[in-house]
């Protein structure tokens, strides 16, 4: 029997007999376990992870999902952000979750289920966190666990310290195999779970291949085949996963994304080709699989004729894809004006290919070409309440102001934060003796104490 949080509050526990539970709580709602439904839901969850997080995701029945996040974590801001984000998204869908990142699937499996914290990050190479867990964390059969209990093993650490040969004799090789898997000395490949309707194409080799040229050639071939499949279904791919299965059972994946759905085989080959060098072929690769986890409808388009002058601007999506996959998706952007008087809030990054709106900033306000985030603290000498500074010191260097303009007063945005209700910044444009132009501001209007503490900051430099 399994219980939810409310049932647990009534004193019920998982594993109780149903009759016992009914005796404790009258009118108890009992649902028959739907094992097939659970399995298919888990499959769907794994497919969702595959689409959104990593090309190597697989269900781990009865209650888990594996994800090989090697090389994917930077896209989500690191391992911790990936897990907290994932947990928050799952919680939003009403799924309680525990998660762990570790060196091996076995260790991650153990930490996710048996560590104290709901989210665990195991530092690379660490065995200490695994050593303190009970042997049950190793996915062992019940009889092996009972034998271990009889022998007095309470933690995995004791098991690691024990001599191997007598242990294998007593308990069978399964225990040691699980231990090796958790410690990484035995391989445990993750077989990705692709939904049946996902466009994919696979190529196996009679002899393992290892040279980069062969991999590039096979990538081109697979891209062509996949694009044919996409063409038949009227789809365009906006994400591609290329999974290399190595001879020793390790899967390595490349994931590329495109800004707009496409089925241009040459372009996709180029995108994948840039990353092929990150694949370590080891002793050889015996199969390659290319799939498109994210697709959307893409109709047929007529080729541009050479006879007429092209009316549209050339398509930039190829270049943007290339740069996005090289630098990271949030490092190519365009700036869009936002209606705010606070300089650091008057713009936001949008996708580079988003439609042009033609909106700009007010022309009459001079703005610096370089903006310092955060503003640099400076010591300035100025008359209160509204005179520009006559001199200021920035990074231990004194600057004498020859000409100045201002103040331009910027008020805090009370609708964002109560603390900003009275906040005021007075901006001054000043020119020093050498002709350099600075953008300085003072916190506070110089008259009312609640508007700011009268500290001076350098916020930018004009051209």
């Amino acid at each position: 029997m399994a219980v939810d949080a409310r049932a647990a509050a009534l004193g019920l526990r998982a594993g109780m007999a149903v009759a016992h539970a009914q005796a404790l709580v009258p009118n108890l709602a009992i649902e028959e376990a739907d094992l097939a439904g659970d399995a298919s839901a888990l499959q769907r969850l794994a497919a969702w992870c595959l689409r959104h997080y990593t090309p190597l995701a697989a269900p781990s029945p009865p209650d888990g999902v594996w994800m090989d996040v090697t090389g994917c974590t930077h896209l989500f801001g690191g391992e911790e952000d990936l897990l907290t984000g994932l947990a928050a998204r799952l919680a939003g869908a009403g799924i309680a979750s525990r998660a762990a990142v570790a060196d091996t699937p076995g260790a991650a499996h153990a930490l996710a289920r048996h560590a104290a914290a709901p989210i665990t990050i195991d530092p690379p190479g660490a065995r200490a966190s695994l050593a303190s867990l009970p042997p049950a964390a190793l996915r062992l059969p019940d009889e092996a666990l009972a034998a271990l209990r009889t022998l007095g093993f309470d933690t995995i650490g004791q098991l690691m310290a024990a001599p191997r040969a007598p242990l294998a004799k007593r308990l069978g090789s399964a225990v040691l195999h699980r231990l090796d898997q958790a410690l990484g000395s035995a391989p445990e490949p993750i077989e990705p779970a692709a939904p049946a309707d996902m466009p994919r194409t696979r190529q196996g080799f009679p002899e393992p291949v290892a040279t980069p040229e062969d991999l590039a050639r096979i990538t081109a071939l697979l891209a062509e085949r996949l694009c044919e499949k996409l063409q038949q279904r009227g789809l365009g791919a906006s994400r591609l996963d290329l999974v290399f299965q190595r001879v020793d059972g390790v899967a390595q994946a490349i994931r590329v994304g495109t800004a707009q759905p496409t089925r241009d085989a040459a372009h996709l080959t180029r995108l994948l080709g840039v990353q092929i060098e990150t694949v370590d072929p080891g002793f050889g690769i015996d199969s390659v699989c290319l799939s498109a986890p994210l697709t959307s409808a893409l109709g047929a388009r007529q080729d541009v004729s050479e006879l007429c002058v092209p009316s549209r601007a050339p398509d930039l999506s190829g270049l943007i894809d290339m740069l996005m996959n090289r630098l990271g998706p949030d490092r190519i952007f365009r700036m869009q004006p936002v209606q705010s008087d606070v300089p650091e809030r008057c713009l936001r990054a949008i996708r580079p290919l988003a439609g042009a709106e033609g909106a700009g900033w007010p022309d009459r306000l001079p703005r610096p070409t370089r903006l310092f985030t955060p503003p640099c603290r400076v010591d300035a000498v100025a008359l209160l309440p509204d005179h520009a500074p006559v001199r200021f010191t920035w990074r231990k260097r004194p600057y004498r102001v020859r000409r100045a303009d201002g103040p331009e007063r910027v008020f805090g945005e009370w609708w964002r934060d109560d603390a900003e209700t009275w906040a005021v910044r007075d901006y001054f444009r000043v020119e020093d003796e050498a002709g350099q132009r600075f953008w300085l501001f003072r916190r506070g209007d110089g008259e009312h104490e609640q508007t700011g503490d009268l500290q001076w900051f350098l916020h930018g430099m004009f051209g």
């Binding site: 601007a313 398509d315 290339m322 700036m335 022309d363 370089r370 132009r437």
Partner: protein
């Protein structure tokens, strides 16, 4: 022998012998006769690499140099670029690639470079910036590619030149000296090299601050001698101007409200 006509004929013959691909893709003029007349192509050729650096105290932040570059890019996109074969220059975006994310788009808009036309890219280091620049220069859908780098080695600049010549996309390298390090002298394959230094502006009759003034120095250019001009900074269309007292004309454009 050395009559102007003979000299001009010789110069045009030399120009024909020089890289043919750099020509014929149009130029960006400054709109100021003193500068344009000094440059052999009467402007900055589009299919070439140009280097811009900040001078004096501005070498680290390159605030004036980036506004100078923004002015060139804005003029490249507006009608001031000379069209080839009477075809209008399509308003294509520019790529602005940096390692530090301190370029402020409203400041660029002050020189006429509209935010819709600028794609920003942030790379990890100089090497990545140069790679991104080269990749982008090979794409004819852009009008120009600007990269902010501390160093511009000969080989990398050569690659940029070849890419720019092939597609006709203008390449600008904005040199920014890393803080606390001396200026690195070195050769590269840029067609022209500019150094922009802020200068004290002329005083206004009232309290306030007028148009910024720059010393614009052409330190190297193929087919032209180095020269220095005193200029007033870019206006809202990205145009420089001669200071009124130097241009020997009444200060009519300097209106004070």
């Amino acid at each position: 022998m050395s009559s102007p006509a003979t000299l001009d004929a010789l110069k045009s013959r030399i120009r024909l012998l020089e890289r043919p691909s750099a020509r014929g893709k149009g130029t960006v003029a400054f709109g100021i006769d003193q500068i344009d007349g000094h440059l052999p192509e009467l402007g900055l050729p589009r299919a070439a690499l140009h280097e811009i650096s900040g001078g004096g105290p501005d070498a680290v932040h390159g605030a004036a140099a980036s506004l100078f570059a923004a002015g060139i890019l804005a003029r490249l996109q507006s009608g001031l670029a000379r069209p080839v074969l009477d075809r209008p220059v399509l308003s294509r975006p520019v790529l602005w690639c940096t390692t530090r994310q301190d370029v402020f788009a409203p400041g660029l808009a002050c020189a006429g470079l509209h935010p819709d036309r600028v794609i920003h890219a942030v790379a990890d280091d100089d090497t990545a910036v140069l790679l991104v620049m080269e990749e982008a220069l090979r794409h004819p859908g852009l009008s120009a590619v600007l990269g902010e780098v501390a160093r511009l080695p000969m080989t990398a600049s050569r690659r940029l030149v070849l890419a720019a010549e092939k597609t006709g996309v203008m390449a600008l390298a904005l040199r920014r000296r890393p803080e606390g390090r001396p200026e690195e002298a070195g050769h590269n394959a840029a067609y022209s090299r500019w150094c922009v230094t802020p200068m004290p502006s002329s005083p206004l009759p009232v309290p306030g601050i007028g148009r910024a003034r720059w010393q614009v120095e052409l330190t190297r250019c193929r087919g032209a001698a180095p020269k220095t001009w005193m200029m007033e900074a870019c206006d809202a269309q990205g145009r420089l101007a001669l200071p009124a007292e130097l241009a020997n004309r009444p200060a009519a454009s300097r209106r004070v409200a």
